[in-house]
């Protein structure tokens, strides 16, 4: 980790695994990532059928980032991200049915159909959304870190942002306060190389992992296609933060295979570039190969695939049959009622 690379992501990022992963761990990561992948493919299909409206930002390609980070987290930690949040909420442990039903705008959705693709929350699992204003989640996440420290609960907030959000002024304002007050926040830049359709070369000066340097915040660049590199980097960063040393920045070099949202044909990049990641560095394929290298049989892998497919199909079915919100729901949840 910490390898210097050009912004045009190469395959030369070094990955360091501290220990050989066990079969159980591999299977867990495979299952987590496959759930995100299959779920998102299904979401894309339901969008195509008109069951999901508006925006739908798929996480396909970036699964190793949240799967690896989640494997390194502790239960008291909190997570916050922007609008490409389906993967983050799924890995938190929520029932996928609630997520799919939120996408279809149904009463059974995790926000009862009132949030949609970009606004999902699972507070009981430590997931604080799901925010549609690029960069706003970083200040809020810094506040979650502030609260962890205030309450002395040994928690850390993992505050995710895309490479586009990293340019927002409030991100740097947040770095300043987090460093000043040694807040327990792990900033994770998911650098998928495009801020919607604008490449990092065209929108960002310098390197994202170095943007904490003026504030004394350590940063590293990590191969975000390698789930173990992610997990190791996050473990190390969390240990640093939990020891009271303040925030940390990890820049995950990753890639989204699909367009920014559903109607984006992604003409700003070449097919070769996409296939470089999709065909050669896919995080799920990597873990599958490791499993098949003596840790699991074809049949075991197939069984996992089948199990995930069933979960996703069940979620899709629920998202079609759960009723639409009642008209009365229009007026609820504007304010928390005050006892008189």
């Amino acid at each position: 980790m910490g390898a210097k690379t050009s912004k045009k992501q190469s395959t030369k990022l070094k990955t360091v695994s501290n220990s050989e992963p066990s079969a159980e761990e591999l299977k867990k990561l495979y299952r987590d990532m496959l759930l995100m992948r299959r779920f998102e493919e299904k979401a894309g299909q339901l969008y195509g059928m008109g069951l999901i409206g508006g925006f739908c930002h798929l996480y396909i390609g970036q699964e190793a980032v949240v799967a690896g980070a989640y494997a390194a987290q502790e239960p008291q930690d909190t997570v916050i991200t922007a609008y490409r949040n389906h993967g983050h909420i799924l890995v938190s442990g929520i029932d996928p049915k609630e997520v799919m039903a939120e996408l279809t705008g149904r009463a059974g959705g995790c926000s009862r159909g009132k949030g949609g693709s970009m606004h999902m929350f699972s507070i009981e699992n430590g997931f604080y959304g799901g925010h549609g204003i690029v960069g706003a989640q970083i200040s809020i996440g810094t506040g979650l870190g502030f609260a962890h420290k205030y309450k002395e609960d040994n928690g850390v907030c993992l505050a995710y942002m895309g490479d586009g959000a990293a340019d927002q002024g409030q991100v740097l304002e947040s770095y300043n306060m987090a460093a000043l007050w040694k807040l327990p926040v792990l900033y994770i830049v998911e650098n998928n190389q495009y801020s919607m359709g604008t490449s990092t070369k065209r929108h960002a000066a310098g390197e994202f992992y170095k943007r904490g340097e003026p504030y004394g915040i350590p940063g590293e660049q990590v191969d975000g296609m390698d789930v173990f590199a992610v997990k190791d980097a996050v473990s190390k960063a969390l240990a640093h933060i939990r020891s009271g040393k303040g925030p940390y920045i990890l820049e995950m070099m990753t890639y989204r295979y699909r367009g920014h949202s559903m109607s984006d044909p992604a003409k700003y990049r070449t097919k070769d570039e996409v296939s470089e990641f999709k065909d050669k560095r896919d995080p799920i394929t990597q873990v599958k190969s490791m499993l098949l290298d003596g840790l699991a049989s074809e049949d075991e892998i197939k069984a996992i695939d089948k199990e995930i497919k069933a979960i996703v199909n069940e979620a899709a079915e629920f998202s079609k049959t759960s009723p639409e919100p009642e008209a009365e729901e229009l007026w609820t949840d504007i304010l928390v009622a005050v006892d008189e």
């Binding site: 195509g48 009862r112 604080y128 925010h131 979650l144 304002e173 504007i334 928390v336 008189e340």
Partner: protein, 479 residues
């Protein structure tokens, strides 16, 4: 069971497209995620990926076919052990559960029920107050017996009252903390938090960098985790930097989260024209915040207001904006001593009873209205002065009951006229008390210009007592 591949929509508005190219042929094996076709719309060419694995049993639509309807079957996948004979008749359009994108003609429009003009709700106990408010209903304000609190009072400044309210709440609730520029070591830019650092320490009285956008977001995050932050803006003009966090994050999240994530936070600061500080330090933003569902907005005038509203704001489980006024900080008033003195939000106060005309205002303008009422009394006009205290939810009931009695109303505010609080009051009276009016509703507002610096111009820009008197005489036809 064979799997039907349907013509996808690439946006909510797409109804048809061209199947430009097949990238797989019949008999090919596909994995989930494989690109199988390209389709064209008027906007773009997009790839269609397989969602399931299988063997392509049939390509139902030929390459180059135009006007393929969304959700038509374009291919059929065979799963393990199936062959072409398993494919039934492929219908032109899918039999599946695709919903109609456009509602059926002839249906009556789906409009959520609203209680509007004439929507009076009577009775002492009002259930679903927030719902009724959102629907525009008129209902009695929360019950509040203020008299017992007024039996034991002390003379304090508005500044001291605010400080006392915050300190009292911080003594009883560990989750309350104060954060803002110069709130701690400097004792507050306007000395509102004087002594609080000494009492509560730097963990709970936090000097922030000049970084409104992010420290407001930080407060929102802390509130979402269960703390009760008081975020001070040195001036509400500076809160413009943080408007996104106040509205998009603090006000909307409870709704977006289906009620699962609230934001108990107070945003407070000096709001209005303190005198000769120019256009960027003099704004009244009451109507900006009052416009937003999910926020509550209060604007104290007296020390009692300041104490009672601040305590209510801190205790409220929602985001509350407290609009203070620098020119009031040093003014002294009788103020209840009780630590239980919390004024229910949504209840106005009649500061002076009258029978000829109603004056409605908030913050510093309440004092000007009382002065005007004195002058008017000398001229034989009896003015009733309503101190709104809470701007959102506004106490429609008290305003309307007053206007039904006086039949005339003038609103007074320091904000600009366009879409101001006075505009809302005029609309409300129009909707609910039109038949009671003997004169049009008039408004007294700041001049519709950026605040000038020069004292002579500023006096013209900000509402003055004489202007209030003049407008009242207009509605009384005594001008």
């Amino acid at each position: 069971m064979t799997i039907e591949v349907l013509m996808p929509a690439l946006s909510p508005t797409m109804t048809e497209g061209t199947l430009a190219r097949w990238l797989k042929k019949e008999g090919d094996t596909v994995e989930a995620g494989d690109v199988i076709a390209e389709i064209e719309t008027d906007k773009a060419t997009m790839e269609v990926e397989a969602v399931d694995e299988g063997v392509i049993g049939k390509l139902a639509v030929a390459e180059g076919t135009e006007n393929v309807q969304v959700n038509d079957v374009i291919a059929v996948l065979l799963e393990d052990g199936e062959n072409a004979s398993d494919i039934g008749e492929v219908s032109a359009s899918s039999s599946s559960e695709a919903p109609a994108r456009v509602s059926e003609e002839g249906e009556s429009p789906a409009v959520a029920s609203t209680v509007n003009a004439g929507g009076y709700v009577e009775g002492a106990v009002v259930e679903n107050r927030d719902v009724l408010y959102a629907q525009g209903a008129v209902f009695p304000p929360p019950i509040f017996d203020e008299a017992p609190f007024l039996e034991d009072t002390e003379v304090v400044t508005v500044r001291e009252a605010l400080c006392n309210a915050m300190s009292e709440e911080m003594r009883v609730d560990e989750d309350v903390f104060l954060l803002g520029e110069e709130v701690a070591e400097y004792n507050g830019a306007y000395k509102v938090s004087k002594g609080m650092l000494d009492e509560f320490g730097p963990k709970r009285v936090v000097d922030s960098p000049i970084t409104e956008h992010a420290f407001t977001g930080l407060g929102v995050g802390a509130a979402m985790y269960g703390l009760k932050p008081i975020i001070e803006f040195m001036s509400m003009d500076f809160a413009m930097q943080a408007m996104d966090q106040i509205i998009n994050s603090a006000a909307k999240t409870l709704y977006m989260a289906g009620g699962k994530l609230g934001c108990p936070i107070v945003f407070r600061g000096q709001n209005g024209a303190p005198g000769k500080v120019g256009a960027q330090h003099s704004g009244c933003y009451a109507s900006w915040y009052a416009h937003v569902p999910g926020l509550k907005v209060v604007a104290p005038w007296s020390a009692a207001d300041a104490k009672g509203l601040m305590k209510a704001a801190i205790r409220d489980p929602n985001p509350v904006v407290v609009l203070e006024h620098e020119l009031l900080y040093g003014q002294s008033f009788e103020c209840p001593v009780s630590e239980d003195y919390s004024i229910p939000l949504g209840r106005a106060k009649i500061e002076r009873e009258g029978s000829d005309v109603t004056l409605v205002s908030f913050s510093i303008m309440v004092g000007k209205c009382l002065e005007a009422a004195e002058k008017l009394a000398e001229q034989g006009i009896s003015a009733e002065v309503i101190n709104l205290r809470t701007i959102r939810p506004i106490d429609r009931h008290t305003i309307l009951e007053s206007v039904k009695k006086t039949n005339r109303i003038v609103s007074v505010e320091e904000g600009w006229p366009f879409a101001g609080i006075g505009s809302e009051i005029a609309a409300m009276v129009n909707e609910h008390a039109f038949d009671y009016l003997d004169a049009p509703v008039l408004r007294v507002c700041s001049a519709d210009v950026p605040q000038p610096y020069a004292g002579s111009l500023e006096a013209l820009a900000v509402p003055q007592v004489d202007e209030i008197v003049h407008k009242v005489k207009q509605v009384c036809y005594k001008d």
